[in-house]
């Protein structure tokens, strides 16, 4: 979703036939391709949720070959899996993770990209280095850390802090935010400095407003990441009342048939997707750059 007035192609370009035709064809092809690749699996999931299990495994792509449509599966999965409750937990976890992530990324990106202290490259390298080590290695030590935080010696397992804080240490997010900040023209900072703004002012009134696209992206990536995360919440949130839906769903998988499992998955998926559709403008909105500097 973008608000820019134009991209590479100008209005004049688009009126030209030799641009309009390929562009139009491309639009259709890409749309169909994305429809199949993106929406296809979701629709299949819905179909599997309301079909008898045997239909789904014998003829996965046929449309209700046995003629039976089991809408009741959705209700069963909802009740048996307490999906509403667990989705609530997932939402709390996702929101908290998004906030901690944004705080860490924006402040880190600001330091590395704009403030640029002498020790900046060291910090940058240390952050990048964390990507080299597979997360498996740090699983056990990280667990030991949340069991007993250094200095304060508190146990944060079975609290939401155990799932809000660790994911904020994401080198990937810090680096893409930093690169985005690198792309902000330096003239804006000069202008603000001339106006007498200190580092905090520059951060809040220049950097943040201009970075809405990447902030939306990071928030989205974090939320999706925490929605999908299974192993870590399983480990640190042993109290079932705190568990997110990603941990709760495998539990009904143990005692139910495939179609009910699919129904549970569908419900756990469709609600975030609908929410995303409603709020996607806020997430992915671009910001027109033309209002940045008055000549």
């Amino acid at each position: 979703m973008t608000d820019i007035e134009r991209g590479v192609l100008s209005d004049a370009d688009r009126r030209q036939f030799h641009v309009r035709l390929p562009f139009g064809i491309a639009k259709i092809l890409v749309f169909i391709g994305l429809l199949i690749a993106g929406l296809g699996p979701m629709l299949w999931l819905l179909k599997a949720a309301i079909s008898p299990t045997q239909d789904s495994i014998r003829e996965p792509l046929a449309l209700f070959p046995s003629g039976e449509v089991q809408w009741g599966n959705l209700a069963t999965a909802w009740q048996q899996g307490h999906i509403g409750f667990y989705l609530g937990n997932t939402a709390i976890i996702a929101a908290g993770s998004a906030i901690t992530s944004l705080v860490v990324c924006t402040s880190a990106g600001y330091v590395l990209s704009v403030l640029r202290p002498k020790w900046g490259p060291v910090l940058s390298a240390a952050i990048l280095a964390t990507l080299f080590v597979p997360s498996i290695v740090s699983l056990v030590p990280l667990y030991l850390t949340v069991l007993k935080l250094p200095v304060v010696h508190t146990n944060i397992t079975n609290t939401f802090w155990a799932v809000w804080l660790p994911p904020a240490a994401s080198a990937f997010h810090v680096l893409i935010v930093k690169r985005f900040f690198d792309g902000i023209p330096r003239e804006y900072f000069e202008a603000a400095r001339i106006d007498g703004a200190g580092p905090l002012r520059v951060f809040t009134s220049v950097v943040l407003p201009l970075s809405r696209p990447i902030l939306g992206v990071v928030a989205l990536l974090t939320i999706i990441g925490s929605w999908k995360d299974y192993l870590w919440p399983l480990l640190v949130l042993t109290n079932p009342d705190l568990q997110p839906v990603s941990v709760a769903l495998p539990k009904i998988a143990r005692v139910t048939e495939l179609n009910i499992q699919m129904a549970g998955l569908f419900l756990a998926l469709i609600i975030p997707v609908l929410l995303f559709l409603v709020f996607q403008r806020a997430f992915l909105r671009g910001v027109g750059m033309s209002g940045g500097i008055k000549a």
Binding site: P52, T53, Q54, I57, R58, Q80, G81, H82, W119, P121, V122, A125, A126, A129, L139, V140, Y143, L144, L147, K148, P150, L231, L234, L235, T238, P240, A248, K251, I252, A253, R254, V255, T256, E257, L258, N259
Partner: protein, 450 residues
């Protein structure tokens, strides 16, 4: 990066090294009641079983006022287990599959409960053959088997009928397996026979087959691999011939438990090796018609040799005190073994299992004495919700079949080295079985040395 990164990162390292503190395992209060954490509590999605579990917790605490139970929903999972062991967060009692105890014993991640079993009088009651899976070479016991099965041959009765075979007479030898597989694939187009091949299940089934052909995988003290000899070669040859000569194994090579269950439930496979507990995966999870489920004893070749066992055991956390171990053993006996000796307990368990729509009446191996086990099966007969007669071919054979335990040393790593052997035999028509086996032997021997 021209900055002196290395010194800076080293400085970080030193600071962190100083700050590193290790966690201590959980302390237990020895005065007053002993408190133990017990795992495998059914979740709220499994309402009936959860109610029964909670009732048993309450009843146990009433009968044992000096023991307090702290139930948790923790289940066995290979990744979380390691972390929990490190953090001292393992429940004191946990259900783990048969394939795990030997590895856990070797890594000292299960408590030695021999003394606790002796002092509570439970040890003599346990079936010694099945108990081997939970013992080390000195005979000390580290776990209590709570359910056991031997591997047999699961087959689709409907496909048998379609192929003109008698669904009550599954093949008893591997030559018969081959003949029946060909009939099924010719008549129905489904794969007559399939076998697990990935995620260490390939090696696991290879072992089962080797046993059935009269061979072994490791020598008695687990120091050398022994599967490059005639029985294993014959087993692989049989697989090869079914796949490439008869073309009765279909085109899929990679099968894990989930994949093979789904294909079997979809009617795409005629036979495969599995234990009776696969009924649950096939019928309850994947919707196979109960009437189509058939299971026979493990086919044998060149004489009666035996079959591999499977099932579950209860382990006790390695960080427990002797008093806690006694409490844990008492709980294990109450929750998992009482049903075999007390009719009321058996009936209560059966009723709640039926209410939870899970199978009752699937035959297994006795974890206590065989006579008591037969009595148990009589008690739950009225509640059986599975087609008991479909299990008859299996029960007839397995009653007398020798149970051969899994390889003693590092079974998982051995299985991992055997996966590619089976995959190659099924994936390449001109695979040289002898070379494959001898290469795998040297790989395994290197690992057994570690």
């Amino acid at each position: 990066m021209s900055k002196p990164v290395l010194p800076a990162v080293t400085a970080l390292f030193l600071i962190l090294g100083l700050a590193a503190c290790s966690s201590s395992p959980s302390e237990s209060a020895d005065s007053g009641p002993v408190t133990i954490t017990v795992g495998d509590r059914p979740s709220s999605s499994d309402a009936e079983n959860r109610t029964l579990y909670d009732q048993q917790v309450a009843a146990f605490q009433e009968a044992n006022p000096d023991i307090k139970l702290n139930p948790v929903e923790t289940l066995w999972d290979p990744t979380t287990f390691q972390a929990q062991a490190a953090g001292g967060q393992l429940p004191d009692v946990l259900n783990v599959p048969f394939t795990e105890p030997q590895g856990l014993i070797a890594r000292k991640q299960a408590a030695d409960i021999t003394e606790a079993l002796k002092s509570t009088g439970l040890l003599p009651d346990l079936n010694p053959t099945v108990l081997k899976i939970a013992q080390d070479s000195a005979g000390k016991v580290y776990a209590v088997p709570s359910a056991a099965y031997s591997v047999g041959l699961v087959y689709n009765r409907e496909l048998f009928t379609k192929a003109g075979l008698d669904p009550d007479k599954p093949p008893a030898t591997w030559d018969e397996v081959r003949a029946d597989a060909k009939k099924i694939s010719d008549a129905t187009g489904a794969a007559g026979y399939a076998q697990l091949t990935t995620n260490n299940t390939g090696g696991w089934m290879f072992t089962a087959q080797t046993y059935a052909f009269g061979g072994t995988v490791e020598n008695a003290d687990g120091t050398k691999a022994t599967f490059a000899d005639a029985p294993s070669t014959a087993a692989m040859q049989a697989l090869h011939d079914m796949k490439w000569v008869d073309k009765s194994m279909g085109k899929t090579v990679l099968y894990d438990i989930d994949g093979i269950s789904k294909d079997f439930a979809a009617g795409k496979i005629g036979m495969y090796m599995a234990a009776p507990d696969s009924y649950r995966t096939l019928v309850v999870t994947n919707g196979l018609k109960p009437a189509s489920f058939g299971i026979g004893g493990m086919p044998q070749q060149n004489g009666e040799h035996g079959s591999l066992s499977g099932g579950s055991v209860q382990i006790v956390s390695p960080t427990t005190t002797p008093a806690e171990q006694v409490a844990a053993v008492k709980w294990i006996k109450y929750r998992y073994l009482n049903r075999y000796v007390d009719e009321a307990s058996a009936v209560a368990q059966a009723k709640s299992t039926v209410a939870a729509k899970q199978p009752v009446g699937v035959p297994g191996l006795p974890v206590i004495s065989p006579e008591k086990y037969s009595a148990y099966e009589e008690w739950i007969k009225p509640y059986a919700n599975v087609p008991v007669q479909n299990f008859a071919p299996y029960t007839k054979v397995s009653a007398d079949q020798v149970i051969i335990p899994e390889p003693a040393a590092q079974a998982q790593e051995v299985y991992a080295a055997l996966d590619p052997v089976v995959q190659t035999v099924l994936g390449k028509e001109d695979a040289d079985i002898g070379t494959l086996l001898s290469k795998a032997v040297s790989t395994v021997n290197a690992k057994l040395g570690r």
